[in-house]
C-alpha cells in the first residue's frame, strides 16, 4: 500500500504506529490497509478497533477527512462503526485469492473520481471473511443514498449470482458512509498498480484519493 502511494503515485505516505494517540498534524487522508490485525483473532477487525490510533481516526473522519479501508481495513471500519454492516465468512467457507471484476456504481470524489459509472475494474480479492452483510433496512438505505460504490460483476459488467465470489449481499464489494468520506472495500487496489504485476486498475481508486487530496491543496 505504501509502495502504491509513495513510489507509483508519488504521494507522500507515512506509516503511523497503531499505539499513537494522534495522527500526524499534516494528515490529509487516512488509509487502513489490509493484513490480519491481531491475527484476526476473535473476529476480523474486532480488536484493532480498540487500538489507540483508532480514536484519532474516528475524530479525523468525523471532521470530514477522507478515510479509506481495504480488506482488513474495511473490516476495522465496520467494527468501529464508521461504516454500516459487517463482513461475514465467505459463503464457501474458504479463503479466496483471485482477480475479480468490479462495477463502479458511483464515480465521484474523493475515492472514484478517476472512474466512470459502469466502468469495470479488475482487481484481486484475498480474504476469508469478505461476505458483506447489511440488514434489509440498512441495505435499502445504502442503495437509496448511493453509498454502494463497487459491486462484483462479470467481464461485461453484469451483476449476478455467478459473479459473486463470496456471498456478499447485493454483490457489494465496497461502500461509503452516508457522508461519503469513509470508503471501505474488500478488493486490494494496491495489488493492481503496475502493468507488469497485476495490471493498473487499482490506480483508478487510489489515484482518485490522491487527486482529492491534491485538489484540497496539499501533498
Amino acid at each position: 500500500m505504501r509502495f502504491a502511494f509513495d513510489s507509483v503515485l508519488k504521494a507522500s505516505a507515512q506509516l503511523v504506529w497503531h499505539k499513537e494517540p494522534e495522527l500526524p498534524p499534516e494528515t490529509r487522508a487516512v488509509v487502513l490497509p489490509g493484513g490480519f490485525s491481531y491475527g484476526d483473532y476473535l473476529r476480523c477487525g474486532a480488536m484493532a478497533q480498540y487500538s489507540p490510533v483508532m480514536a484519532a481516526v474516528r475524530r479525523f473522519a468525523d471532521a470530514g477527512g477522507p478515510v479509506l479501508g481495504v480488506c482488513n481495513g474495511f473490516q476495522v471500519l465496520c467494527e468501529t462503526g464508521l461504516l454500516p454492516g459487517a463482513l461475514l465468512r465467505n459463503q464457501n467457507l474458504h479463503f479466496g485469492c483471485e482477480f475479480v471484476d468490479l462495477r463502479v456504481e458511483r464515480a465521484s470524489p474523493p475515492f472514484t473520481s478517476r472512474t466512470a459509472a459502469g466502468q469495470v475494474l479488475r482487481i484481486p480479492i484475498k480474504n476469508g471473511e469478505g461476505a458483506y452483510f447489511a440488514a434489509p433496512r440498512e441495505l435499502e438505505r445504502l442503495e437509496a443514498n448511493g453509498q454502494v460504490v463497487l459491486r462484483y460483476c462479470d467481464e461485461s459488467g453484469a451483476v449476478g449470482e455467478a459473479s459473486n465470489p463470496n456471498g456478499s449481499v447485493a454483490n457489494i464489494a465496497g461502500i461509503t458512509n452516508e457522508r461519503g468520506n469513509v470508503f471501505g472495500l474488500m478488493p486490494h487496489p494496491e495489488h493492481a498498480v503496475e502493468a507488469a504485476i497485476g495490471g493498473t486498475d487499482g490506480l483508478f481508486l487510489l489515484g482518485s484519493l490522491v487527486d482529492a487530496v491534491r485538489a484540497a491543496g496539499s501533498l
Binding site: F36, G39, D40, C97, E98, I197
Partner: protein, 749 residues
C-alpha cells in the same frame, strides 16, 4: 529440590526416550555419572534422528554444497546464495509430515511458521512460500479431510504473516494413505553484509529469550514424533503437536528485523525442534563457548513447569539470541514495543559447558560438544529391495496400445495428480508484498526482488519444487536425478538461471536396509544432478520413519530449485501467449512408458524403468532457455513432464488468461501413445515468432529442436506429420475436465 520428584533415570527410561543401550552407555561415559532427568531429555532429543541426522549424515556429507554463489550452505538455519548487487536469497525446505497427519491444520501451519523462522533468523525478510504436499487417494474421506485441513493450515499461517504462497505441487497416491507429506519452503531476501548466524560468542554476553511464552505443548514433537513410525496409537500423540500463532510470528519477524538493523545482535537462533535445548546447544557449540541458563527467567505460559518440560517444550514463535553486553535494554525495548516477551535467561561462558539452574539448583551440567557434535553417526545396513527387479520389469511390446487418445487425454487431465490445483492455491494469498510476477499454476513461480531501500530491482527469482515418487520407487538414483532436473528445468523455463537447491528427503524407516538403500541411491542421484547442473545443495531436511504399520511411502526426495533472472520483466510464461506463433519442441521423445501416468492410469501398471535422464543435455537446455528468453526469441516455455506431450500441450492451451488452441504435427517413428503420453525427460514446448532463429540458436546450444506446429484456433489438434489426427478437441472442453477436478471430488462444484 522443591516438591516435585523426578523419575529415576535408568536404562529402561532411556529406552523409553528412544535411546539405544549403546547410546545410554555413552551418555554415562561422557558425564561420568548417571544423567539427571532433564539431562536424559536433552540427550534424547539432541541424539534423535530428527535433530542429529545420525542415519543420514554419512550420505549428506557427499552432497555438493559449494559453488561460486554459495555464501552459506548446510549447517546454518538456511542456505544463502549471492544474487549480486549486495543481495542474497536465503531459502530452505522442511517437512512437517507427522504433525500434519495427526492435526492437519495446526501441523501444516506450524510447518510454515517453522520454515519462516529458519529464514528470518538469518536476517532475511521472508518473501515467498512454496508447498509440496502429498496425500492418499482423494476419493477417501480421510484424505479429503487431510487435504482441506493442510491447505487451510498453510493458508492461515502464510496469509496472516503476509508472505505470499507462490507455488508448489500436490500429489495423491495410495502409498501416502497412512503417512501424508507436508514440505514447506520459504525464501527470503537479505543484504549480504547483514547475515546473522547461530552464534553465542563473547564471554559475558547476555542470552536473551524473545517471542511467545513457553508452555507444555509439543514436548518431544520433532524428536519423538518425527523419529518413529506410526501405528494404531498415533492419535494418542496429539499433545505432541504444537499450536501456531501467526500474529505473534508476524510481530516476531518485524521485531527481529528491526533489532538486526542495529549492531546489538551477536547471534540468533530460532527455537524449533527441541526448543530451548537445541537452540542453546547449537549456538554454544558453533562458537566453542558455554552457556549458563536460568530457567526461572524463562517466560512461562503455565505454572508448575519442571526443567524437563521447559527445556524440551516446542512452543512456537520463540527465538534465542545473544546480544552485546550492555545492550540488553535496547533489545528489550524493541520487543516490548511489539508486545512480545523478552527476558535475559543466561550468559555466555568460556568453559564449554551447559549449566542450567532452576530454583537455585543446578539441574543440568554437561559439556556442550559431546552432545551437539559427537552425536552418534550410524552406518546402517543397506540392501537393494528384493522386488526391485520385479518393479522394473516392463515389456513395451506387451502393453496394449492406446485405442482412444482423446479419452486418455481427458482421463489424465481430470485425474487428481494432473488436474488444476486452483482449489488449493486460491486459498493462499499469492500477492502480498506485491512482487508476484508469475503466480501459481505455471512451471515455476517468479518474484521480483526488492533492494535495500524497499524499491523494486530489475532482478527476479524463479523457484519450483518437484519430485516424481513413482520414478524414485522404480529407481531412486534416476528418480532423484529427475527431480533435480525437473525443478531446474521448470525454473529455466522462465528464462532464469538455476542457482542452487534445497531438499526434503522423505523416506521410510531407516532401520530397514532396503529403505536405507533407497536413501543412499537417492542422495547419490541428487549429488550427480546437482554437480552436473551446477545447482549445489545449500540447505535441506531429512524425514525418516514415514511409514505406518510397516508400510513405507515411496521414496520422496522433493527438490526445490531457485534461479535468477537479471531482468525479471523479460521472462517467459508457460502458456501459449497468442495465436500465430510457431511451436518448437526442445529435446527428444523416446519410447519410454515406464513409470508414466498413462501407464498407471490407463493400464493400471506402476512398472518399468523411469525415463533416462541426460544431465549434460539438461544443462545445455538451461543455457538455451536463458539465451532464448533474454533475446526475446522465446515467448513461452513449458516443461513436458507428468502425462507427457499431450498433457503439456493442453496445459499450454488453457492455462493462460485467454485460451489459445494449436495444430501440432509430430514427427517420429515411436508408437503414438509413447509419443503423446510418454514422459521422456529434458523436453520443453516453446513458442516463438521466429522459428528459424530459435532452431538455429538451439543448434548452437547443442539441443535437438523441431518446429512441431503453430498456435491458434479454439481446438487442440495433434497428429502425425502425415495421416489423420490422433486428437482434435475443443480446448474449452479439455479445460473443463481439468479445472474442476478437485472441487468435483470434494462435492464443492
Amino acid at each position: 529440590m522443591s516438591e516435585y520428584r523426578e523419575p529415576v533415570v535408568d536404562l529402561a527410561l532411556a529406552r523409553e526416550h528412544g535411546l539405544t543401550d549403546e547410546e545410554y552407555a555413552r551418555i554415562v561415559e561422557i558425564l561420568g555419572r548417571t544423567p539427571s532427568f532433564p539431562e536424559l531429555g536433552i540427550f534424547s532429543v539432541m541424539w534423535s534422528e530428527h535433530c542429529s541426522y545420525k542415519s543420514s549424515k554419512k550420505y549428506l556429507k557427499k552432497l555438493p554444497t559449494q559453488g561460486a554463489h554459495v555464501l552459506h550452505g548446510p549447517g546454518e538455519n538456511a542456505g544463502v546464495v549471492d544474487i549480486g548487487d549486495g543481495l542474497a536469497a536465503v531459502f530452505k525446505m522442511e517437512s512437517h509430515n507427522h504433525p500434519s497427519f495427526i492435526a492437519p491444520v495446526q501441523g501444516a501451519a506450524t510447518g510454515v511458521g517453522g520454515i519462516l523462522r529458519d529464514v528470518f533468523t538469518m536476517g532475511a525478510r521472508p518473501v515467498a512460500n512454496l508447498d509440496s504436499l502429498r496425500f492418499g487417494p482423494l476419493d477417501q474421506p480421510l484424505h479429503q479431510y487431510l487435504l482441506a485441513g493442510v491447505v487451510e493450515g498453510v493458508g492461515s499461517y502464510g496469509n496472516a504473516v503476509g508472505v505470499a504462497t507462490v507455488g508448489g505441487e500436490t500429489q495423491f497416491h495410495p502409498c501416502y494413505a497412512g503417512n501424508i507429506l507436508v514440505n514447506a519452503f520459504n525464501l527470503g531476501i537479505i543484504e549480504t553484509d547483514k547475515i546473522f548466524l547461530a552464534r553465542a560468542s563473547g564471554v559475558g554476553n547476555p542470552v536473551i529469550y524473545v517471542g511467545s511464552k513457553t508452555g507444555r505443548d509439543g514436548i518431544h514433537g520433532a524428536s519423538l514424533l518425527a523419529s518413529a513410525e506410526f501405528d494404531a496409537e498415533s492419535e494418542a500423540k496429539l499433545p505432541t503437536v504444537q499450536v501456531g500463532d501467526p500474529f505473534t510470528e508476524k510481530c516476531l519477524i518485524e521485531a527481529c528485523l528491526e533489532l538486526m538493523a542495529t549492531d546489538a545482535v551477536v547471534g540468533i537462533q530460532d527455537m524449533g525442534a527441541a526448543g530451548l535445548t537445541c537452540s542453546s546447544f547449537e549456538m554454544a557449540s558453533l562458537s566453542g563457548t558455554g552457556i549458563a541458563l536460568d530457567l526461572d527467567a524463562v517466560p512461562q505460559r503455565e505454572t508448575g513447569m519442571i526443567p524437563y518440560e521447559l527445556l524440551l517444550s516446542e512452543s512456537q514463535e520463540r527465538m534465542l539470541l545473544v546480544a552485546q553486553a550492555g545492550r540488553e535494554e535496547e533489545v528489550a525495548e524493541i520487543f516490548r514495543r511489539w508486545d512480545l516477551d523478552v527476558a535475559v535467561v543466561g550468559r555466555v561462558t568460556d568453559d564449554g559447558r551447559m549449566r542450567i539452574q532452576w530454583k537455585g539448583e543446578t539441574v543440568v551440567d554437561i559439556p556442550v560438544d559431546p552432545v551437539a557434535k559427537s552425536s552418534p553417526e550410524l552406518d546402517r545396513p543397506v540392501a537393494r529391495p528384493a522386488d526391485l527387479g520385479e518393479r522394473q520389469k516392463l515389456d513395451h511390446a506387451s502393453i496394449a496400445p492406446e485405442e482412444d487418445f482423446e479419452a486418455a487425454l481427458r482421463e489424465l487431465l481430470g485425474s487428481p495428480n494432473l488436474c488444476s490445483k486452483e482449489w488449493i492455491y486460491r486459498q493462499y494469498d499469492q500477492l502480498v508484498q506485491g512482487d508476484s510476477a508469475i503466480r501459481p499454476g505455471g512451471d515455476a513461480a517468479l518474484i521480483r526482488v526488492r533492494g535495500r531501500d524497499g524499491e523494486p530491482t530489475a532482478k527476479g527469482l524463479a523457484m519450483a519444487v518437484d519430485c516424481n515418487p513413482r520414478w524414485c520407487w522404480l529407481d531412486p538414483h534416476v528418480g532423484a536425478m529427475a527431480a533435480v532436473a525437473e525443478a531446474a528445468r521448470n525454473v529455466a523455463c522462465t528464462g532464469a538461471r538455476p542457482l542452487a537447491l534445497t531438499n526434503c528427503l522423505n523416506f521410510g524407516n531407516p532401520e530397514r536396509p532396503e529403505i536405507m538403500w533407497e536413501f543412499a541411491e537417492a542422495t547419490r542421484g541428487i549429488s550427480d544432478a546437482a554437480r552436473a547442473l551446477e545447482t549445489p545443495v545449500v540447505s535441506g531436511n531429512v524425514s525418516f520413519y514415514n511409514e505406518t504399520s510397516g508400510r513405507a511411502i515411496y521414496p520422496t526426495p522433493t527438490i526445490a530449485v531457485v534461479g535468477l533472472l537479471e531482468n525479471w520483466q523479460r521472462h517467459a510464461v508457460s502458456h501459449f501467449p497468442q495465436s500465430g506463433l510457431s511451436i518448437v519442441l526442445f529435446g527428444e521423445s523416446r519410447e519410454e512408458l515406464g513409470g508414466s501416468e498413462w501407464l498407471a492410469q490407463r493400464r493400471g501398471l506402476e512398472a518399468g524403468l523411469p525415463p533416462a535422464v541426460d544431465l549434460a543435455h539438461e544443462k545445455r537446455l538451461h543455457g538455451l532457455l536463458a539465451a532464448g528468453v533474454a533475446r526475446e526469441l522465446i515467448r513461452s516455455a513449458h516443461d513436458v513432464s507428468d502425462g507427457g506431450l499431450a498433457v503439456a500441450l493442453a496445459e499450454c492451451a488453457f492455462t493462460g488468461p485467454e485460451r489459445v488452441g494449436a495444430t501440432v504435427r509430430l514427427p517420429g517413428t515411436i508408437r503414438p501413445d509413447a509419443l503423446l503420453f510418454g514422459e521422456s525427460t529434458g523436453r520443453v514446448i516453446a513458442t516463438t515468432s521466429d522459428a528459424n532463429a530459435l532452431i538455429e540458436l538451439a543448434k548452437q546450444s547443442g539441443v535437438p529442436a523441431e518446429r512441431i506446429g503453430e498456435t491458434g484456433g479454439a481446438r487442440l489438434s495433434v497428429g502425425p506429420v502425415e495421416g489423420d489426427s490422433w486428437l482434435d478437441v475443443e480446448v474449452a472442453s479439455l479445460c473443463e475436465c481439468w479445472r474442476d477436478a478437485i472441487p468435483r471430488r470434494l462435492g464443492e462444484s
